[in-house]
Structures are given as C-alpha cells and as structure tokens.
C-alpha cells in the first residue's frame, strides 16, 4: 500500500509541476486533472473512499471539462500567450528542484519512520454518502455552498466583460 501511495505522491508532484510549467493552457488543465487523479488514488488507498470518488469525479473530471471549455471559448492571441509564458524559460530548472525536493521529503519521511495518516473512523466507514457528508461534515458542506456563491460573485466582479469595455 505504501509503495502505491508514494508512487502516487511522486506522480502528483510531477503532474503538478507540469501544470505550472506547460505553455499551453489546455495541456496545463489536463496535467492538473492528472495530479488530481493521483491525489484521488492516495485518498482511496488511505481509506477515504468517498472523498476519493468526489476528488476524481468533481476535481479531476468536472473541473477539467469546465477549464477546457473556458479555454476553448477564450480568444487569446497565441503570440501574446507565448510572450506571457516567455518568462518561464528562465525558470526551467524549477521542475528539477521541485522534484528533487519532493523526493528528499519522501526519503526523509521514510527514514524517520513517519507513519501514514490514521484516517478518522467516520471517513473510513462505508455507508450512505448523504449520511456521511451530512452527519460528519455538515459545516464543510455549508462552507462549500458559501464558497460557490463567493466564487460566482468573484467571477462577476473580476471577469464581467461589459464592465471591462
């Protein structure tokens, strides 16, 4: 189990770095989805089955579809995009540094014998999804509802095109 978790951690790190470094936004979105899928696998392996399902379906699936739809709808000039991302050439060593740093952390954790998280019994318990979410994480569900409202308000304030014109 630990080998799977550490492999997924490594994959998550690599895809995360790729998501930041890619020049193409579509590739970035796909890399982000892959990082999210790796996180979902870690959650599944540590016993948080429902969280893993939500992570893979919502974050890795739905959010990626929305990202790619938004990218395809935008008409950013390719040259302008390249200009924006030109700065990243200067940081070409960043992925290597990050990956080496991540590997060092994993080695340090294994050397020190740090045990894996002990999941809450509530998170491990199989049962009705509604019951688990409502009984154990009701405050977070309210939080998520408010985050969605805040996100909608934020998008309308920052990206409302008629106001920019």
């Amino acid at each position: 189990m630990e080998a799977v978790i550490y492999t997924c951690l490594g994959l998550m790190l690599i895809f995360g770095v790729m998501a930041v470094m890619f020049h193409s936004m579509t590739k970035s979105a796909i890399a982000l989805a892959a990082a999210s899928a790796a996180l979902g696998a870690i959650m599944y392996e540590t016993g948080a089955i429902w969280s893993a399902l939500l992570e893979i379906s919502v974050c890795s699936g739905l959010v990626t579809v929305i990202f790619i739809s938004a990218i395809s709808l935008s008409n950013m000039d390719k040259k302008e995009l390249e200009k924006v991302y030109d700065d990243k050439k200067r940081m070409s060593l960043l992925p290597v540094v990050l990956i080496l740093g991540g590997a060092a952390l994993v080695i340090a954790a294994m050397t020190a014998g740090i045990s894996l998280p002990q999941p809450d019994t509530a998170a491990k318990a199989a049962g009705d999804l509604r019951e688990i979410l409502w009984n154990n994480r009701q405050a977070d569900i309210w939080g998520q509802i408010i985050i969605m409202i805040t996100g909608a308000a934020a998008v309308s304030v920052l990206f409302r095109e008629s106001d920019w014109k």
Partner: protein, 486 residues
Amino acid sequence: MSAMAYIAVSFLVVPLVIIIIINLIQREFAKKVCIYLACASAVIQMASSTAEFFMLSANHLHEYRFTLLWNMKEDAEHFGVTSLSLVVMFCIGFVSFISALIALRTIDKRKIYYVNLLMTLVLGMNGMVIVTDLFSLYVFLEIVGISSFVLIALFRSETGLEGAFKYLVMSALASMLILTGLSFIFMQTGSLLYTKIGPSILIAEDGSKQTLAYVALIFLISGFAVKTGAVPFHSWLPDAHQSADTAVSILLSGIVIKVAGIYSFIVLTDLFKNVPAIDTALAILGIASIITGALLALRQTHFKRIAAYSSVSQMGYILLGLSTGSTLGLVGVIAHVFNHATFKSTLFANAAALHEQTGTLDIDEMGGLQSRMPVTGFSNIAAFLSTAGIPPFAGFWSKLLIIMALWNRGLRVLAGIALFSSILTAAYFLRLQKKVFFGKLPDKYSDLKEIDGTVRFAEIILTVVIIAAGVCFPLALLYLKGRGIL
C-alpha cells in the same frame, strides 16, 4: 427548536437570505435597497449576538451546540456558540454596519457586488467563529480570504488589483501553511474536532511524531500570523488597506484580520493550553509587531497607511495578551479586539470623510482642517487617544488588562516594552493630527465643508461608542467578576 437555536441559526441564514433577495429582485430596485438590507443584516446580527449572549449567561451555559436545518444523527452538532464567539460576532455586525454606512457614500456603481461580497465575508467570519472543527475553520477562513481579495479589487483599478494580488499571494501562502499544519495534526489524531486535539500530541513517545507535531504548530502559527498581518508577515497589509475602497478598508482593518488571524490564534491557544513554545512564539510576534508597526507608521505620509501600520502594532498587543495564557490576558484580548474594531473603524471613517472632501489622503497636502471639519477632527482625536491607551478612553482599559496579565505572569520586561510603545503610538498619531487638522489651512481648502450624510453619522456613532465603552468598561469588569470569570 428553542429561541437560542433560532438565533444561532440566524447567524448563517440571514446573510444567505440577503444574498438571495438582492439577486432575485429587479436589478434597479436592488441597487437602491441593497446597502440598506446589508445594514439591516448587520443590525440583526448585533441584536442576535447580544440576545444569545445574555441567554447563554442566564442558562449558565459555557457553550450552546446546534446544527443547521435538520439532524440525521441525534448527537451530531456541528456548530457551537460561546460567550467569546458571540462578542466576536457582535463586532462583525458592528463593523459591517459601519462599512455599509460608509459604502452608501463612497460606493456608487458596484453596490450589488459590494453587498454580495460583504454578505459572503460575514458568512465566512460567522462560520469561522461557530465551527467546532479545525478543518471547517480552514474552509470558512478560505471564504474570508476570497471575499476580501475580491472586495479589494472591487473597482479593478491598477492599485486595487495590485493590492488584491499581494493579498492573494500572501493568503495562498498562509492557506498552504495552515493546511499542511492541519494535515500533520490529522496524522497524529485522526480527527480535527476541537474536542479531540490537545497538548497530548506534543508529548508523544515517538520522537518523530513529536517533531511532526511541533512542525505542525510552526506552520499553523506562521499561517495565522500572515492572516493577522503580524511582523514579519505584514507586507500585504498596508498595500491592501491603502488600495481598497475605504468601506472595504474598514472591514479589513476593523474585523477581517482579527477574525481570520486573532480568532484562529485564540482557538489554537485554547486547544494547546500552557504550551510554552506557543506562548513564546506569540510573545515574539507580538513585541516585533508592536515596535515595527509603530516605527513604520511614523514614516508614512498616507492617512490609510498610517492606520494600517497602526493595525499591525495593535495586533501585536493582542498577540502579547494571548501569549500570557491567562484568563485576564484573554479578557484583555477580547476587549482590545472590540476597542480596535471601534477606533480603527473611526479612523477609516475619517479617512473616507477627508478623501470625499479634499480628494487626497496625503497628510503632507493637508493642514488646519479642524476649523473646517470639526466633527471629523474631534472623532479623530477620540480614536487616537483610545488607540494610544489614554484614560478614560476604551483603549486604556484593554491595554491595562493586557499589561497587568503580562506583569502577573512575571513577564515584566514585555509589560514595560508594551507600556513604552504606547508613547510611540501617541507619537505617530500626534504627527497625523498635527499635519491634518492643525496648522495653517491651505488656500485650496478655504471653501471646504464638513462631511454630511451617513459618513458623519458613522463618525458620531463611533465616537460615542469609544467614549461610552471607556466610561462603562469598569461595569463590564464588575460583571465578569460577578460571574466568576475574573
């Protein structure tokens, strides 16, 4: 459901209902009424928190636990209010009310956006103080962060976007630190419920677990310090305060940094009682913030930046009070949170008045405005005397309690530094008062008049509260003594 349950539920439901109403009714009508609805929501919150406070006291309850809508499991109670959280919620209502009053004057075109975000901000802050789980605290902390960031960028001006971006970057850093800290604690305990976390995780037999627990504390303290704007994590605060609309600056300085930062520290010190490492870290952050904030305020020429650096300095006093780990210190902290909300709101209301009338907030361009703007001048004096801790203003009592708590804990050097730093506070405010309100009136302001309308109303209310809180503070102390708290 009992009356207490209805009131408790209203803390989340009322702002949500306001959001729904203003987004469903006809847009032109919504523009006219939205800020009044925000004022109504703030007044309801003040009344609800006061009523709940006295009900809690009458029933001799330490905490009232509740759930929203319905409960699928009898013992599942996800929210709770205490006397402390109710005081904080009163402050949230009060500062939101003042901000809405100022917004009536300063915000013209984007009123609906402002009210939507104000309500989500209030929801986030209310959520933070009523949850009973560290992860839920983090979720609501994020709501506060996102709402604040968008409020700073509300008008999408160049400076606004720059200030918002700085806040976003620092806030993201804080979130990363907090989330990592929480995950380390979760590794030890398997739960993030307040009832399941305590100092016992710091005395684990396994050395690596103990190290991990201390690393978690370092991350959490650093993350919360960013949210508080404590030195050396304060770089975002002056820029964000300066670039935002004054109605938003009032929220940021008056309540957001206290709920997002200080309240989180209160939770942390409550969970890890009498852990010397936390007390020492808070004392260091506190002293550094008091002195650095005051010294930097002395060098500023922009009214809002002086007020912002003053906030950094005053947060230092609050952190110093928390570092004592005593009840007296905690009472001083809560009193200073309330007092800072009032006198900092006053200073920003004055900033709104000055900006509306003179078109600038550069104190070098002002002078002699006392004769033209006597209400603003007087309320500024009241705010400055309270901030400096001059008796009988409210700030005197809270600082006195904090210094007494330090003295009682044997931290006499820190008490001395805190006392001495009040002179620095007086120094930068005397400079501000002299440059803005005294001296020769520039010719361009010869026709200047006092601000009218809701801004003047806010200034008068705030001045009355500062003076009344100072005069009545001994009564509050007697009440706490009567209840056996002090």
